[in-house]
């Protein structure tokens, strides 16, 4: 008989009415999940507390097992009874006649024909084997041995089973971790406890034993309970596709943003390069629906107001668990908004078994400097050479006046070239001046003056604790974040309070939560603008500060001579300096969000409870842009609006002379109210029914407005009145008006009304069937209820194969289950209705003073939801004593009724019209594997790997007719291709005039002078988003040290190499010439086409086509696959013995290095494919490595 209480034998152990305080430690222990499952499995079934053994109870048993009998006794008497299943499983067919007896008498009756006896200890009863009859007198001395059991961090462990090996007696440690047991000197004590490695301790004559149990790491990463937001389900009974992350998973990544902490951890969950989460790819190509997953916090959806990123506004340290609902069975309970998956977040709660525990942590992050040399740029000399080429060939016009604002920003080199053209300098002077410029490289000046090392500081303080009737969790968080661009800083803080109170002998539970968070961000675009390719960008020789340390000033609007002339007339200074601008034109964003949850849960009987819950939320945010009078933007704006009085020769200002302040405000509120019943009933020990049902209403209201002020001064806080419609004379003599620049007042209300139910039935915990249904109604204007309110449903089945008898023989399989689900998720259309929608113009007609409106969406009587049908096949397994576990899922999603803008006969008044008509197929695989190659007291190694594959295809023959130019735009659905397709020209080299050539569908070479319109002339290059991606985490622990590494990878997409940009693409060029290295190897003369592919500066009608075909040719298509070392972390927990006598219970220090770069990339151009923006902006820098030092202590 194996008395070792290993994890795999966990299910054999039934701890009835287990002494709850025994789980105290688990809260701080690394497995909150274990804590949760124990609570869930045992917590609500047998809640009552120990009663007097002499209490009279009515009891009967009819030919049932002892197991059932003891359960029933515990239930009826409220006693806590513990036993080992292995001890009692052989006793069946027990009958006790109905009668009223004391609990003790009943217990004795139950055990009357067994070899079992019971021990009463600390208000609980332990059923054990009677001592074996002594055949020989025991000469050894029997002593009472007492002791204390702790975990590795010296915290007392409560509820540990202590048995004398070879004997059938046992005790349980008390609330101080203490125990007393009678044992001989030579006896061996066997200690066992869930979540810890069992241990055997020889008595050896000791009277007082101090034992510490080691954490059982086999349980790490093993998630045992999932949350749908409406209920929690034991993982072993969940049919749907759920993935979870625990607070310990999240705490390994020290970033401020929650999304970064999720990256690479969960199969099927992708973090897009815009920082959004995407669960199992896209389901729709419609622009009229939400594309983000629904985020649910503590049971209620968190609806973003004004485009905020919900996940970014949460304090990651307050999160207990995140559950990702991926398939229909998991998500369809959320109905209309669940098509993109659901992210269910549970925040931390206090523990009722704990005295107050205080946790404090701080993390300090700094980064390496940004690497500007990542941007492959021409040398200064090469750049000047290109400018010279452009000027000499006449592609650049010199702005000799102010009239053509598009011409501005003549560079230093161009100025010199124009001076030579005008004959004011000789060619020798020109060459000398250019040579002098060519010696300058401003890279280090940009690094020093505009960029900085990113730094981040985070502070977290939390208090939690509780007792039998009340638990609490209070936390506060503060962070500052300074990115690499100077002039930018983000700050924020949050407060969270969660409270649970039990009333009326636990018949009623009141749960409340209060959360407030606030962010303060300041952004300044000067640094990014300076690196960028706009008119305000810096050429390689443009220095930021001169030799004396003064900031360099540049003229941008026109040439310096023209602008200096205006300055001499009294116009405001018209120079621009990126360094000075760091102090001006800041945008300050402040957001505040308060959220309150309240839930009442009343227990009707032991299998039914009713719950009423609600959530209310308020938000207030403002964004203020202040362009000071000193800022370039304001000076430029006012100068452009300034004219000279023809008579008085004085300046006439068309705009108030002062700063410009533009504030926009977003205000919102949201509430939900829900009534729900929960049924959890077991019949005859083999049928288990779990069911919820309820109704809820939800409203989200958002309001935004803005105000533009002119002549504003922050010193006095005053602004000047102006007439937005009055015409003023501009600097060029034209007429203009200030206009209405205040953001209009917009109010929106969204309401949902839903009825929902979810039920699962399990037979012997082997066969599980589940179903959910939801009826959602939504305020879609004018849409008939039949179309508007739809039932969404799902069903699922699970076979827990490992519970079958025939599997018991296969000892290396711990767990094996098969799952199959099928169902529908919905997606509600946005801003589409069955009645015509109008847009009121923001300003009145200047002629009539009247407002006007247009119909922007014509009425569509047949409008409805998009529906996604999901089939999910899955297998879950755990092998070799949980050394290897994981799951594999295969899914097929088919979306129908995609709201698609289809062309219609314009005779009807509109040339396109939205119908529920599109279809799309999207399939994929999610794979998670966790391994525990080494598990020991000192050493352990855990490893987890996840892999995701997602593909999609448009299957709609109406999208078959697509032209080459439409496909290049690549946002139009194309039958038979994924929605993120990339089509490119087939490069055929340059011709001997420097123009691009491509192949057409017949493999003929087509010059830039010939149009290419047929899609068949293009080549399908691949998908732009990676179909294969995932992460690989390894953690090695040695005693108190743990070293972990996260590797992420992404395969199978393509990207276009950003080769040339801001290059002559028309007959003339204005503005800023690109700096990319490839421009230096441009075609210059006939014959160059043999050695280069970069189109030449030839001008004429076909230059634009030529450049465009090169930029979008297969020549520049690269494989986007990469493997990245995302993070390495080393942590150290101070050994508990070092903390003895201090106030600290736990101290840990960790160092984390993130963004270490690519381990491997398919492209050999040195580019990081993850950090190429969708546009051709070349100046996207990959993040620099960051270094974090984190300290956390608990008291």
């Amino acid at each position: 008989m194996n008395n070792r209480l290993t994890l795999s034998s966990l299910s054999k152990l039934r701890l009835l009415s287990l002494d709850r305080p025994s789980f105290t430690k688990l809260k701080r222990f690394k497995q909150p999940i274990v804590f949760a499952i124990v609570l869930l499995q045992f917590g609500f079934v047998l809640p009552a507390f120990a009663q007097n053994l002499s209490r009279k109870i009515s009891f009967e048993l009819n030919n049932q097992s002892l197991n059932v009998g003891l359960d029933k006794l515990a239930k009826v008497s409220g006693l806590r009874v513990s036993y080992l299943t292995s001890d009692i499983s052989k006793y069946n067919n027990i009958t006790i006649e109905k009668g009223t007896r004391t609990a003790e008498e009943t217990l004795k009756l139950l055990l009357s024909n067994t070899t079992l006896s019971f021990i009463v200890k600390d208000k609980s009863i332990l059923v054990v084997e009677k001592a074996a009859p002594k055949t020989t007198p025991d000469n050894r001395q029997r002593n009472v041995v007492s002791g204390i059991i702790t975990d590795s961090e010296n915290n007392p462990l409560i509820g540990v089973t202590i048995r004398v090996k070879g004997e059938n007696k046992g005790v349980i440690s008390n609330s101080k971790g203490e125990f007393q047991i009678e044992a001989q000197d030579g006896a061996v004590l066997a200690l066992s406890f869930i979540g810890f490695v069992p241990k055997e301790v020889p008595v050896n004559g000791q009277k007082d034993i101090r034992v510490s149990l080691a954490d059982d790491f086999t349980m790490l990463g093993e998630v045992s309970v999932v949350s749908t937001g409406y209920q929690t389900i034991p993982k072993e009974r969940a049919t749907g596709s759920f993935s979870t992350l625990s607070s310990s998973d999240l705490s390994k990544t020290p970033t401020i943003n929650l999304v970064d902490r999720i990256e690479g951890q969960v199969a099927g969950v992708k973090v897009t390069n815009t920082g959004a989460l995407q669960i199992r790819g896209k389901n729709s190509y419609s622009t009229k629906i939400e594309s983000d997953p629904l985020v649910v916090i503590d049971g209620f959806p968190y609806l973003p107001i004004g485009g905020e990123n919900v996940l970014e506004s949460l304090n990651p340290d307050d999160i207990e668990q995140i559950t990702f609902l991926k398939d229909a069975a998991a998500a369809s309970i959320w109905g209309a908004k669940a098509a993109n998956g659901v992210v269910v977040i549970t925040t931390k709660k206090g523990s009722k078994y704990n005295n107050t525990s205080v946790n404090f942590s701080t993390a300090l992050t700094t980064s390496g400097g940004p690497k500007l040399n990542y941007l492959k740029q021409m040398t200064t000399a090469q750049y000047i050479d290109l400018e010279k080429d452009m000027v000499e060939k006449g592609f650049i016009a010199e702005p000799t006046n102010i009239y053509n604002s598009g011409l501005g920003n003549v560079s230093q080199a161009e100025t010199i070239l124009f001076q030579y053209k005008h004959g004011t300098i000789t060619s020798a002077q020109r060459d000398a001046a250019l040579a002098q410029l060519a010696t300058i490289n401003n890279t280090s000046q940009i690094q020093d003056n505009l960029l900085q090392k990113a730094t981040t500081q985070q502070y977290n303080l939390s208090l939690s604790g509780g007792n039998e009737t009340n638990t609490y969790y209070v936390s506060g968080n503060y962070y500052t974040d300074q990115p690499i661009y100077k002039g930018n800083i983000n700050r924020g803080y949050s407060i969270m309070m969660n409270n649970t109170t039990n009333l009326f002998n636990k018949r009623l539970t009141v749960t409340s939560g209060l959360n407030f968070n606030s962010t303060n961000d300041q952004s300044n675009s000067s640094a990014m603008t300076a690196i960028g390719n706009t008119n305000m960008g810096l050429r390689p020789y443009d220095v930021l500060v001169d030799a004396n340390g003064n900031s360099s000033q540049y003229y941008i609007r026109s040439t310096s001579s023209v602008l200096k002339n205006y300055e001499s007339l009294g116009y405001l200074p018209w120079t621009y300096s990126p360094v000075d601008e760091l102090n001006y034109s800041n945008t300050k964003t402040n957001t505040n969000n308060a959220r309150l949850n309240l839930a009442l849960n009343g227990k009707v009987n032991d299998w039914l409870n009713l719950e009423v819950s609600g959530m209310a939320e308020r938000k207030f945010g403002e964004t203020v842009l202040y362009n000071e009078l000193e800022s370039y933007t304001t000076r430029n704006m006012i100068n452009n609006a300034t004219s000279i009085d023809p008579v008085k020769k004085t300046l006439v200002y068309g705009m108030p002379l002062g700063g410009y302040l533009n504030s926009t405000y977003a205000n919102g509120r949201s509430y939900s109210l829900r009534g729900q019943f929960n049924i959890n009933k077991m019949f005859n020990n083999i049928h288990r029914l779990s069911m919820i049902g309820g109704a809820e209403i939800r409203e989200t209201y958002a309001k935004s407005w803005g105000q533009a002020r002119y002549g504003y001064s922050s010193d006095t806080g005053t602004d000047q009145a102006y007439n937005p419609t009055a015409y003023y004379t501009t600097i060029t003599g034209g007429l203009s008006q200030i206009g209405y620049n205040s953001a209009p007042l917009v109010e929106t209300t969204e309401r949902f009304l839903s009825y929902y139910s979810n039920a699962s039935y399990s037979l012997k915990d082997k066969y599980i069937l589940s179903g959910s249904a939801r009826f959602d109604d939504y305020n879609l204007l004018g849409v008939s209820r039949r179309k508007r309110a739809i039932p969404l449903w799902s069903t699922g089945a699970k076979w827990n194969l490992y519970n079958e008898d025939f599997m018991k023989k296969i000892s290396w399989v711990d767990q094996l289950a098969l799952r199959l689900t099928y169902g529908f998720n919905g997606n509600a259309p946005r801003n589409l209705t069955n009645v015509s929608l109008i847009t009121i113009s923001s300003s009145a007609s200047t002629d009539t003073g009247r407002s006007s409106a247009t119909i922007d969406t014509p009425a569509n009587p047949d409008l409805g939801w998009e529906k996604t049908r999901v089939v999910n096949y899955a297998v879950d397994f755990s092998l070799f004593k949980r050394r290897l576990s994981g799951s594999a899922e295969l899914y097929f999603k088919h979306t129908t009724d995609i709201i698609t803008s289809m062309p219609i006969n314009a005779t009807y008044g509109f040339s396109t019209f939205y119908y529920n008509t599109g279809t799309m197929q999207s399939n994929g695989v999610d794979l998670n594997i966790s391994g525990l190659p080494i598990s020991g007291k000192d050493w352990s190694w855990t490893s987890s790997f996840n892999f995701s594959y997602n593909t999609n295809m448009i299957s709609d023959s109406r999208f078959s007719n697509i032209t080459a130019s439409t496909a290049m735009g690549s946002s139009t659905p194309y039958n038979g291709y994924p929605i993120d397709y990339l089509f490119v020209y087939r490069w055929a080299g340059l011709d001997n005039t420097g123009l691009s050539q491509v192949y057409n569908k017949d493999n003929q070479i087509v010059s830039s002078k010939t149009a290419v319109t047929d899609i068949k002339d293009l080549k399908y290059a691949g998908r732009r988003t990676a179909p294969y991606f995932g992460g690989f985490t390894n953690a090695v622990r040695y005693k108190s040290f743990e070293l972990s590494a996260l590797i992420t990878y992404s395969f199978g997409n393509v990207f276009l190499l950003p080769s040339i940009d801001n290059y002559l693409a028309a007959k003339t060029f204005t503005g800023f010439i690109g700096k990319q290295e490839d421009l230096a190897s441009r075609w210059r003369k006939a014959g160059d086409e043999l050695t280069t592919n970069v189109p030449g500066l030839v001008g004429g009608n076909y230059q634009g086509t030529s450049v465009n075909r090169y930029k979008y040719s297969d020549l520049l298509v690269r494989d986007g696959s990469y493997i990245r070392l995302r993070q390495i972390a080393l942590s150290y927990n101070l050994p508990s013995k070092m903390l003895v006598g201090t106030i600290f219970r736990n101290v840990s220090i960790s160092g984390v290095v993130r963004n270490l770069g690519l381990l491997w990339a398919a492209n050999k151009d040195g580019l990081d494919p993850e950090y190429l923006s969708a546009s051709t902006t070349i100046n996207t820098l990959p993040p620099s490595p960051t270094y974090t030092l984190k300290l956390s202590v608990s008291l």
Binding site: I697, T749, S852
Partner: protein, 458 residues
């Protein structure tokens, strides 16, 4: 305990009961504006109701590109316009939209929405609702007037009830049949709508962008003129003139080199402002018109410029419309004006054999178009002479605005005016015989592909 259970049950019931369908149906402030209040409909017809047509401006023989260099340049820079100029029977390929078809129909959807819904809108008085509906009716009638005069044969009483007109949509319905109504049906609807509108319109509008009684009368006059019901045309021209008859002496707009010709919205001669769709940068005026005009005519001084002032440049005189006078982007007026009413009345009088009265009306206009020193009375004694004088004056008054094309179409029914027109463009000679099918614009292939019930023009 039971009490609590009951309390919770009651709470649940209350929630379920309140969570009824009204919760999602009566939702205020949904961030979208729907047409609910009368004022919403008012906003709708305040917007962009002016654009009417463009192609007829190119097709009429008041415009003529004689310069061969110009023709080459124009062919490459404005190839879009060439089919209308050369009277092709196909304007666009099957992918391209016809702006002159799309734009009026897009407006018609708006007008139909207003006509359909305004009377049942909220928070408006009945008179305001009727007024808004009547404005929409006039606008809709005008849109159909333009469409039927471009894409269908000119009105001929003997065939109008079988000649194919244009699809006639009178409700905002995306599913309706687009079969072409007959020319007569379209004209009847135009007349019906205008007559329906008149009682509820103000005599004169606040701005000439908005229809008035004068505008409805004026459009009726024009419509009857085009159906050759000259009696009715004259009566309605009279009715319009009874309300608005101001003529402005153009000399007051020329002060040396400074030109103060008013913007359309302030032009007292405009009864209802409509504009061409988009603007031209260059239109050469047929030298015949220039000859007819004479250099002393103030219209020559105001509305023509030497070809060197355009791009591409050309030899000759170009049309210099409203948009080039001011800093405003006004497009050329093609709406209803007081001089048009005088000329309609004059034509009707002439045709009714009142040559003296007819010519006196023409002279009334000419007195305002010439400096007193240059002015000479015209006179006619016969019906033909009078009619010639009236039609010539129409050429002078309306050149560059598409009126000539519409006149050519309808005057083909008069032996006196029916004449073959030719033009040479890039060395190809194009000929347009009276009553040719080419006087009827082709309906875009795109629309026929979408809805084959639209029968193409021959």
């Amino acid at each position: 305990m039971r009490k609590i259970n009951k309390t919770i049950l009651v709470a649940l019931l209350i929630i379920s009961a309140t969570a009824c369908r009204n919760y999602v149906e009566d939702v205020p402030l949904q961030g979208v504006r729907t047409l609910t209040n009368t004022s919403d409909y008012r906003l709708l017809i305040n917007k962009d109701v002016e654009p009417l047509y463009t192609w007829p401006i190119l097709s009429g023989n008041d415009v003529y590109f004689s310069d061969t260099t110009f023709q080459v340049a124009y062919n490459s820079s404005n190839a879009y316009y060439v089919p209308m100029y050369t009277w092709k029977n196909v304007f666009f390929d099957s992918e391209t939209s016809d702006q002159n078809w799309d734009t009026p129909y897009a407006k018609i959807y708006i007008f139909n929405t207003v006509v359909d819904g305004v009377m049942s809108s909220k928070k408006g008085s009945d008179s305001e609702k009727s007024k808004i509906m009547s404005e929409a009716l006039v606008h809709r009638a005008f849109s159909y007037w333009a469409l039927v005069n471009m894409y269908a044969k000119q009105y001929d009483a003997s065939t109008a009830s079988t000649d194919l007109g244009v699809p006639m949509l009178l409700k905002p319905d995306m599913q309706a049949s687009l079969a072409r109504a007959t020319v007569k049906t379209v004209y009847d609807q135009i007349i019906f709508d205008l007559k329906l509108a008149i009682p509820n319109l103000p005599p004169l509008p606040e701005y000439n962008l908005y229809p008035s009684k004068a505008a409805a009368y004026a459009l009726l006059a024009r419509t009857y003129l085009f159906t050759r019901n000259f009696t009715a045309a004259q009566n309605y021209a009279d009715s319009a003139l009874a309300i608005q008859s101001t003529l402005v002496n153009y000399s007051s707009y020329i002060n040396g080199s400074v030109i103060t010709y008013p913007r359309s919205i302030k032009n007292p001669e405009i009864i209802l402002s409509k504009t061409q769709i988009g603007g031209f940068s260059v239109l050469q005026i047929n030298p015949e018109i220039i000859d007819l005009l004479g250099t002393q005519d103030l219209r020559y001084q105001l509305f023509t410029r030497d070809g060197s002032q355009f791009w591409p440049t050309f030899k000759g005189r170009g049309f210099y419309g409203e948009q080039l006078y001011t800093t405003y982007t006004d497009y050329n007026n093609v709406g209803l004006t007081v001089p048009e009413m005088y000329l309609i009345k004059a034509e009707c009088l002439a045709r009714d054999n009142h040559p003296v009265e007819a010519v006196s009306l023409v002279n009334k206009i000419r007195q305002n178009r010439l400096l007193p020193a240059d002015y000479v009375d015209l006179s006619a004694s016969t019906m033909e002479d009078a009619l010639n004088i009236v039609i010539d004056e129409r050429k002078r008054e309306f050149f560059g605005r598409g009126f000539r094309w519409f006149d050519q179409r309808r005057l083909n029914k008069d032996a006196q005016f029916a004449q073959t027109v030719t033009r040479v463009f890039n060395k190809v000679t194009y000929t347009l015989t009276p009553n040719s099918n080419l006087y009827t614009y082709p309906i875009g292939q795109k629309y026929i592909i979408f809805n084959p019930e639209i029968v193409p023009n021959p």
